[in-house]
Symmetry: C2
Subunit: 221 residues, 2 copies
């Protein structure tokens, strides 16, 4: 048998970290302090360290801790980006992870290898991103929106009790477009994640029933 | 700045190749001819070769061609499996791909590094698989079934024209459970992928309208 030459690819992990604020859906960007792509805005990311990381997701969590002081128990894998073209250092694999967090749970701070951090408009980040990070961002955005559009309710972003109107507004902020109220309400009827309470919100309009997430609800499952 | 030691992980690609026959949903397994895990049944897979492969998907397609003579234009990435435990050769990354093909388009032949091939019951493969391939198989199976259950119709498995009953049977074979006819028909009404023809199938029962897939339909999109 002929011996086959195996070259080792560079393996990096990148994270699209989303949150919702009054301006809509935001994504965390960092300004790179080191080469390659020094001074460019990018998704937070870094090189896999097999001697430190239990697996790729652990690597992504380590990178978030070290670069922007964000500690997240679970990241969802989106997909890989690979080949000879995407990084000047050579044949590389980027494994993209994603999370959607409540705004007040993420205090992104400037730490190692980062010059600045910014919560950019997720759909229009306003910078040409480093590497293939624009493609990565839009891939993560599409997966997140498909998920919210089709079957997942972002109940972890809501207060403990909330109205269906407030939930609709949050979904609309993620999707970047208005939803039809009747269609949305019909979809909610089939959801096992949503639990009716016997409380009402009283305001200027007629009282609106309050709901909560079922115990054990997980958006990322 | 301290220099950081970077160890290079082993990178492999694995493929869960599904098809439907009279026995239900099947997955392609190969019996490994070489170490590690020689003689064990496994998903077809192999080591990434950056000097040959344009990207990870191309690597997976090369592995299928070389191991079982199967040539597929597109594979869908499911997710990665990684860490120190899954392969005796050391810290490794397996990138899992998946495809669902018409049975008559796949003539899996024994080629390099393979002792035997088998189309096993996808939900009960009947072998303890090599590495973490049992977990990989069930992950791919869950993703495929979720997809067919929620939004994707496997129209590429159907003949050019088909009845809605035949389509329901194919979905049921993939899902491994019967579907409620009324619920299924309601779902089909909302599908943009399904086109009514003005032809009917005449058989023992009353004539059944024939349908076709819309031009440009893609199951893996």
């Amino acid at each position: 048998m002929m011996a086959t030459r195996v070259l080792f690819p560079l393996v990096v992990v990148d994270v699209a970290l989303f949150c919702v604020d009054d301006g809509g859906l935001r994504v965390l960007l960092v300004k790179r302090a080191l080469e390659p792509e020094q001074g460019r805005w990018a998704l937070p990311g870094g090189v896999l360290k097999p001697d430190q990381d239990a697996n790729l997701e652990a690597a992504a969590r380590r990178v978030l801790r070290n670069k922007v002081s964000v500690d997240i128990p679970h990241l969802e894998e989106i997909r890989t980006f690979s080949g000879n073209e995407r990084d000047s250092r050579g044949w590389s694999i980027a494994v993209l992870f994603c999370a959607l967090l409540p705004r007040d749970q993420v205090q992104a701070l400037i730490r190692d290898k980062v010059e600045a951090v910014e919560w950019a408009d997720a759909a229009k980040p306003g910078h040409r991103l480093a590497f293939d990070h624009t493609e990565q961002l839009f891939t993560a955005l599409r997966v997140l929106r498909d998920k919210v559009d089709r079957h997942a309710l972002p109940l972890h972003l809501m207060p403990e009790k909330f109205t269906l109107t407030a939930l609709q507004r949050t979904c609309e902020a993620i999707l970047g477009r208005p939803l039809d109220k009747a269609v949305f309400r019909r979809r909610l009827k089939g959801s096992e994640d949503l639990v009716e309470t016997d409380e009402f919100e009283r305001g200027l309009q007629r009282p609106a029933q309050l709901y909560r997430a079922r115990e054990g609800f997980a958006f990322m499952a």
